[in-house]
Amino acid sequence: MTGSVILQAKGLNKNFGAVVAAADINVDVPTGQRLSLIGANGAGKTTFVNMVTGYLAPDTGDILLADQPITRMTPRRITQMGVCRSFQIPQLCEAMTPRENLLVAVGASGPRFSFFRHAGAQGASEQAAEILQRFEMIAYADRPVSELPGGIRKLLDIAMALVRRPKVLLLDEPTSGVSSEEKFGLMDTVMAAVEGEPVTVLFVEHDMDIVTRYADRVLAFYAGKIIADDAPDEVLSDIEVQRYVTGTAR
C-alpha cells in the first residue's frame, strides 16, 4: 500500500570533523512504506534520522516532506508537520510515571488545553490509559520512569511518538535492549498501532529477523553512504552488506 513520495532526501552530506556521517544520501520514501535502515555501527543511521527530524542540519542537501522543504526547520515544526520519532536512548521524563509521560505527550500534541482544567480532564487521561493498555504497560503505569527496566522505557518512548498519529514515524533501534521474546511483540504492537493508516515507518534495526519480517525495503549504510537500497532479501544477500553489516559472509 505505497503511494506518492512522502519523504525525500536529496544529496545529504554531513561531516563531524574528519568523520563522514552522511555522504550524498538520496532517498525517496513513498507513503505507507516500511523502510528499515541497517548498517554498521557508526555508519550514519542515527545521523540520518537526526537530519530528517531537524535535530541536525545537513551540511548540504535538502529534505522534503510531501514536496515541502523541511531542511532547516526545528524539530518542533517538523513534528507538527507529522514526523515523529523515537530515540536510540529513550528520551523520557524520568521523574514522572509512564501515565504522566503519555499525558504530557497528549498535552503537547493535542489542541490547546485550558489553564483551569485538570490535566487529566478533557479526555486526556482516557487517551493515556488506552495507550498504556495497548502497549501492555499497565503494570508499570504509575512507577517513576527512572525505576523502569530498559525494555519498558523503549516501549514508552515509542508510544509517546505515536500519540500524535504521525504521517511519518522514525524509530531509532526500537528493539535494541529488548529481550528476544519481546522484540516481535513490540514490533507487532507498533505496527498494529499504525495499521490501516497511511503511516510511513522508518526504523533503524540491527536484528535481521526483525528486518526481514517487518520491512518492505531496506537501506544499508556504511561509512555515511548508502551501499544498498532494495527489498530485504536482495539487500541481505548483497555481498557488501554481508561483509560490512550482517557479517554472514566471511
Binding site: C93, A95, A108, H118, A119, Q122
Partner: protein
C-alpha cells in the same frame, strides 16, 4: 489518580483567605507586618517556583521585584496615586511588561547560565538605580501610605488593612498557581524540566513555555515588590541586589514545588528565624541562619511542601495527585563517594 476539582481549589482558596484574615485580627502588630512582608516575599518566590517547575531557577528575581516596587512607588509618591489596588495593578503590570520584553531574550538559556544572566540583568538595574540621584540614588525613596478603595485607615488600622490585601493577593496567586500546575499546560511545563528534547519532539515549544513561566514569575515579582514597597514605606536599589534575589531562591527551595501554600509558610519561617536570631544572637545570627539552611536542605530535600503531601498521605484522605512528584529537585541520586 485524583483530580483536584476546580471547585475544590476555589473553595480551598476562598476559605484559606478568609481564615487567614480572621487569624490576622488576633495577631500582634509586629507579626501582622511580618506576615505581610512574608506574603510579598512569598509572591516573588512563588514566581520562582513556577520557573522551577519548568527546570529553571532565576537568581535575579530581585529585578522584577524592584521594578514593581519602584514603578508603584514612583506613581504613588510622584503622581499621588494612592489606591492600593491600582498600585498593585501598576506594579504588577510594569513587571509583567518587563517580563514580556526580557523573557524572549533569556528563554533559551538553561541551568546556571539562566540563573547568572538574570543576576546580571538585576545587577545592571541595581547599578542604574544607584546613579539616579533624582529618585534617591542608593538611598531610595519613601512611599506614602496607601488608601484602600478610597478609605484611608489611620494609625493602627493600616497594618491590618494591608495585611488583608496581602492575604487576598497571596491566596489569589496561590489559587492561580494550583490551577496552572494541575492543568495540562502546567504538566507540559513540568515535562520541560525533565526532558526538553522530548517536549520539542512532541511538538510543544520549550521556548514559549519558558517565556510564559517567566512572565508569570515577573508578574508575581511585581506584585510582591509593590506590596513590600507599600508595607515598608520605602524602596531602594537593594531590592534588585543579588542577595535579595538569593533570599527569594532560598524561600522557593525551602518550600519545594509540591505545594503552593508552602511558599508563604517558608517565607514567614525565614523572616522569623532571621529576626529572632538577630534579636537573641546579634553577633552570630548568620551562623544560625546558615545552620538552619543546611538542616532544612539536608532533612527536607523536597522542601516544606513535601511535609504537607506526606501528611496528606498519612491521613490517607487523598492519594498523591498528578502534580505531586517524588523526584522533584532531587533527580536520580547517585552513590556518594
Amino acid at each position: 489518580m485524583t483530580h483536584r476539582k476546580a471547585s475544590h481549589i476555589l473553595t480551598a482558596g476562598l476559605l484559606g483567605g478568609i481564615a487567614l484574615f480572621l487569624v490576622g485580627l488576633l495577631l500582634p502588630n509586629w507579626l501582622l507586618f511580618t506576615v505581610t512582608k512574608a506574603a510579598g516575599y512569598g509572591l516573588v518566590a512563588l514566581g520562582i517556583v513556577v520557573l522551577m517547575r519548568g527546570g529553571l531557577v532565576s537568581f535575579g528575581q530581585g529585578m522584577v521585584y524592584c521594578i514593581g516596587a519602584y514603578t508603584s512607588g514612583l506613581v504613588a509618591s510622584r503622581l499621588g496615586v494612592s489606591d492600593v489596588f491600582l498600585l498593585l495593578a501598576i506594579g504588577g503590570g510594569a513587571s509583567t511588561l518587563v517580563g514580556l520584553l526580557v523573557g524572549p531574550l533569556i528563554a533559551r538559556y538553561r541551568g546556571i547560565f539562566f540563573a547568572m544572566l538574570t543576576v546580571a540583568l538585576s545587577m545592571v538595574l541595581y547599578g542604574i538605580l544607584v546613579k539616579q540621584n533624582a529618585i534617591g540614588g542608593s538611598d531610595g525613596f519613601n512611599v506614602p501610605e496607601p488608601t484602600f478603595l478610597g478609605w484611608a485607615p489611620g494609625v493602627g488600622a493600616s497594618d491590618l488593612a494591608l495585611y488583608a490585601v496581602a492575604v487576598v493577593v497571596a491566596t489569589a496567586a496561590a489559587t492561580f498557581c494550583r490551577f496552572y500546575f494541575d492543568s495540562m499546560p502546567g504538566l507540559v511545563a513540568k515535562a520541560v524540566r525533565e526532558n526538553e528534547l522530548r517536549v520539542e519532539y512532541l511538538g510543544s515549544s520549550v521556548f514559549n513555555i519558558t517565556v510564559r513561566n517567566f512572565v508569570i514569575a515577573a508578574g508575581f515579582g511585581g506584585l510582591g515588590g509593590t506590596l513590600n514597597g507599600l508595607a515598608l514605606g520605602h524602596v531602594d536599589p537593594l531590592f534588585s541586589f543579588w542577595t535579595t534575589s538569593g533570599e527569594f531562591v532560598f524561600i522557593a527551595i525551602l518550600s519545594g514545588h509540591v505545594s503552593v501554600s508552602a511558599v508563604f509558610v517558608s517565607a514567614l519561617i525565614l523572616e522569623l528565624v532571621r529576626s529572632f536570631s538577630n534579636r537573641y544572637f546579634p553577633e552570630t545570627w548568620q551562623l544560625l541562619l546558615g545552620a538552619f539552611l543546611l538542616v532544612v536542605i539536608l532533612f527536607l530535600p523536597n522542601g516544606l511542601g513535601s511535609l504537607w503531601e506526606e501528611l496528606r498521605k498519612r491521613l490517607g484522605r487523598r492519594k498523591p495527585s498528578v502534580a505531586s512528584d517524588p523526584g522533584s529537585l532531587e533527580r536520580r541520586k547517585e552513590v556518594a563517594p
